[in-house]
Symmetry: C2
C-alpha cells in the first residue's frame, strides 16, 4: 500500500540534511551509518512515533536512500511518516523484542551484510540513549569483518544550524511556552495542589495556540518548591503550594517535536533578600549572556559573561549554562553537542538555537529564569519567548 | 543537611528487595552491581526524578547500603528521595555531562575502585536504556582488572511479584485509568481536534482521583485512527476526529510511578463487519486468556488461549500479547522480563501483574481492547480496571 508522506519538511530540506550528513561520514571514512537516536532518525527521514523503547534506526548510505529499520509492527508507522518508499522500510520479527535468547542487532547485522557492508566501516552512535551496551556487543559479534567506528553526535552536529522552516516551528513552540507560563502565573496560589497545576500546564501545552497544535515535550514539567528547588529534576506530588516559597517552572512548548524551553520562577508571598539579590544578579547575567551570544563569539563567551555578575553576588554555578535545542524525543530536549561552559570554544553561527539555562540550584533554594535563543547574523541573540525576565511575585 | 526520606515504601520493604537482589547477585557470583535502569534505581532506593538523561545509577553491595551515584546537581534530588543517608549519595562534576572529552563512567570507575571492587566481578545492565555502548566501553577501559558481567534484568526479575503495597498503588493507578477512558468515551466526537482530546486525557491523568494525585505515565497517549490504527505507536496531530473510523486509545493511569495500562477502542459511526468480527474474536480471546492467566500456568498458556479464537476468525497476530507492569520510567511502562508469547514458559505466580495486551494492528485498521491483570493465588486473573470489555460505538 502506498502512503502519502507526512514528513514535516520539504524533500529539498531532507536532501540537504542527507548531503551534510554524508559529507561528515566521508570525513571520517564511514561507509554506512546506523542512527538509533530518535531525534536524528526524525531529522533525516521524518519518522515519528513512540517506538524508541525497542531497537530501531536508520541506515544512511552514500549512494542510496536511507533505510528505516525497526520492529515489524512499527513499519506501519514508518510507512506513514518517512519520506522514503515502502522498499526502504524494513521490519524485524516480534520475537526479537525483549527476548532473552535473541537480539534485534542480529537482524540489523544481516541487513548490513546483505547490503554489502559486512566488511566496511560502519558508524554507530556509541553514546546515545537506546543504543545499549548489548546492542554494541551483539553487532560487534555479528559483524566480525566490519570496522565499527564511533559516530556519536555526528548527525547531531549537522543539526546545530536551523533552517528557516525549523526556526518557524520553534517560534510556534515559543508561543505555546508563553501560554503555559502565563497560565502558571495566573493560576498558582497557596493551597492549590501541585498536580492540579501540572494538569493545567499539560492541557495548555497540548491545546497549543490557534491552529498550532501542541506536541508532547521531551521532558515533563519540573516544578520543585522552596528547599526542594535545590534539586533541578524533581517532578511533582499532590501537596498544596505554600506561602513563603519560590517554585521554578521548567517547561517547553513543543510543535511537531521542536521545543522552546522556557523557565520562570514564582514566589508566593514576600521574597527574602537573598532571593532578590540572586534575581538581580541572574537577570544581569542573562542580559550580559544575550549580548555575548552572537555569531563569531564562542560558547564559553556566553558562560563567562553570565558568570561575572553572579560571582560578584557571591554565587558560583557549577553547571553548564545552556545547550542547543530543536527537534527532540524523550528523555532530553537538548541536542547534546555544544555546552555553554568555560571549556567549550565552539564558535556560534547564525541560525543556532540554544536554551540559555543558568539555573541556580543552591543548598536549600533554587531560581530559574531562562531563555530560548536564536543566534542572529548580526547583534545580540534573539529570545524566542517574550515575557518579563524576572522573578514573579504573588503576594 | 538532613532530609526526611520520602521514599514511598517502608524500610522493611526496601530491605526485602535488597535481600532478593543480593541473593540473585550471589547466584551469579556478582560482587557489586551497577544499576542504571531508573525503574530499578527507584525500586531499590526510592530515587525519583527526571534525571535519567545523564548517566546515573545505584551501586548494590553485599555488605553495605546502596550508593546513589549521579550528576552533582541531582544529588540534591537524591538526598530528598532515597532512604539512604547523605554519606551514600555521591555526585560527579558537571563537566562530565555530555562532554566530548570525558565520560561519567570514569568517575564511576574511580568510585568502584575506591570501594575495593576494582578487581572484582561487577554486574552491569548490558541491555538497558541509558547504559550506552560508550558507557560500557569506558567502564571496561577504566576497570582493566575487574570482570564486567552482564546483569541485564537481574533486578527486573526480582520485581515480578508485587507486594501488597505495590498492588495498592496499582489499584490507585487503575482508578485513574478508568477515569481517563470514561473521559475519552464521553468527549470524543466527529470534528474534535485530536490534540484537544489528548489535552483532556492528560488533565484527567494528572488530576488523579480524589486524593490520589496523578503522576506522568512512561508513555504518552497513543491514539491512531482509521487506517493509521495499523500503526501501534503513532501519537497525535491537530486533525479532527472523523465519522466512520475506529480510534484505539492506549493510556495508563500512573500513581507514584506505578502504572495500570488500559486500552479501549471507540468507533464513530457504524462499524464495518470485519471490525465487529474482530471485536468478538478478541473479546473471546481475552476471556480465554484471563482464564489461563492463573498461578501455575505458563506465560505461553495465556498467549495460546488468546490465539485460538483469533485464529478461528482468521486473525494472526505476530506480536506478543502482554508483558509485566508496575513501577516504570520512560520510555516504556513494561518491566522487560516475561512476555506472553508462545515460546515463553515462565510459570505465573500470585502477585505478578501484567498488561494483557493483544492489540490487533492489521494492514489498514487496528483494534485494542486490553486489561491490566493480577495473578491470584486461586482462579483466573483479576482485572485491575472495571469497564466493559468491548468496542465502544458512538453513532
Amino acid at each position: 500500500m502506498k502512503h502519502e508522506s507526512r514528513a514535516p519538511f520539504s524533500s529539498a530540506e531532507y536532501q540537504r540534511r542527507l548531503v551534510k550528513t554524508r559529507a561528515a561520514m566521508a570525513e571520517r571514512g564511514i561507509d554506512v551509518l546506523f542512527v538509533e537516536d530518535p531525534s536524528n532518525m526524525a531529522w533525516l527521514t521524518g519518522y515519528d512515533g513512540w517506538s524508541f523503547y525497542v531497537h530501531q534506526g536508520v541506515l544512511i548510505f552514500h549512494d542510496a536512500d536511507p533505510v528505516w529499520w525497526g520492529r515489524g509492527q512499527d513499519a506501519n508507522g514508518a510507512l506513514r511518516t518517512v519520506w522514503m518508499g515502502e522498499e526502504n522500510v524494513r521490519g524485524y520479527a516480534d520475537n526479537f523484542v525483549q527476548s532473552t535468547e535473541r537480539h534485534a542487532m542480529q537482524d540489523l547485522a544481516e541487513l548490513i551484510r546483505a547490503r554489502g557492508y559486512g566488511t566496511k566501516r560502519v558508524g554507530v552512535e556509541m553514546e546515545n540513549y537506546y543504543f545499549s551496551a548489548k546492542a554494541y556487543v551483539t553487532l560487534l559479534a555479528e559483524l566480525p569483518d566490519a570496522d565499527l567506528v564511533d559516530a556519536t553526535a555526528l548527525v547531531n552536529w549537522q543539526r546545530t544550524v536551523k533552517s528557516d522552516d525549523e526556526i518557524g516551528f520553534m517560534r510556534k513552540a515559543a508561543r505555546i511556552s508563553e501560554k503555559i507560563v502565563d497560565g502558571i502565573i495566573e493560576r498558582v496560589e497557596p493551597g492549590l495542589p501541585k498536580n492540579e497545576l501540572v494538569a493545567e500546564i499539560m492541557r495548555d501545552a497540548l491545546r497549543g495556540v490557534d491552529d498550532d497544535w501542541g506536541d508532547y515535550a521531551s521532558i515533563v514539567p519540573l516544578l520543585p518548591s522552596g528547599t526542594d528547588a535545590a534539586a533541578p529534576h524533581l517532578t511533582w506530588d499532590g501537596k498544596p503550594f505554600e506561602t513563603g516559597a519560590a517554585t521554578f517552572y521548567e517547561i517547553a512548548g513543543c510543535y511537531r517535536r521542536y521545543h522552546a524551553p522556557f523557565c520562570r520562577t514564582v514566589f508566593l508571598g514576600k521574597p527574602p533578600d537573598h532571593i532578590l539579590r540572586a534575581e538581580a544578579a541572574l537577570v544581569e547575567g542573562l542580559e550580559a549572556g544575550l549580548e555575548a551570544a552572537r555569531a563569531g563569539n564562542r560558547a564559553c563567551d556566553v558562560a563567562n559573561a553570565l558568570a561575572a555578575p553572579l560571582e560578584r553576588a557571591g554565587i558560583e554555578r557549577g553547571a553548564r549554562a545552556g545547550y542547543p535545542i530543536g527537534l527532540s524525543y524523550p528523555p532530553d530536549w537538548g541536542e547534546r553537542t555544544i555546552s555553554f561552559r568555560a571549556e567549550d570554544e565552539t564558535v556560534l553561527e547564525p541560525g543556532m538555537t540554544f536554551h540559555f539555562m543558568p539555573g541556580l540550584w543552591m543548598e536549600n533554594w533554587g531560581l530559574e529564569i531562562t531563555e530560548s535563543i536564536l543566534i542572529r547574523s548580526d547583534g545580540a541573540a534573539e529570545t524566542l519567548c517574550h515575557r518579563p525576565r524576572k522573578l514573579f511575585v504573588k503576594d
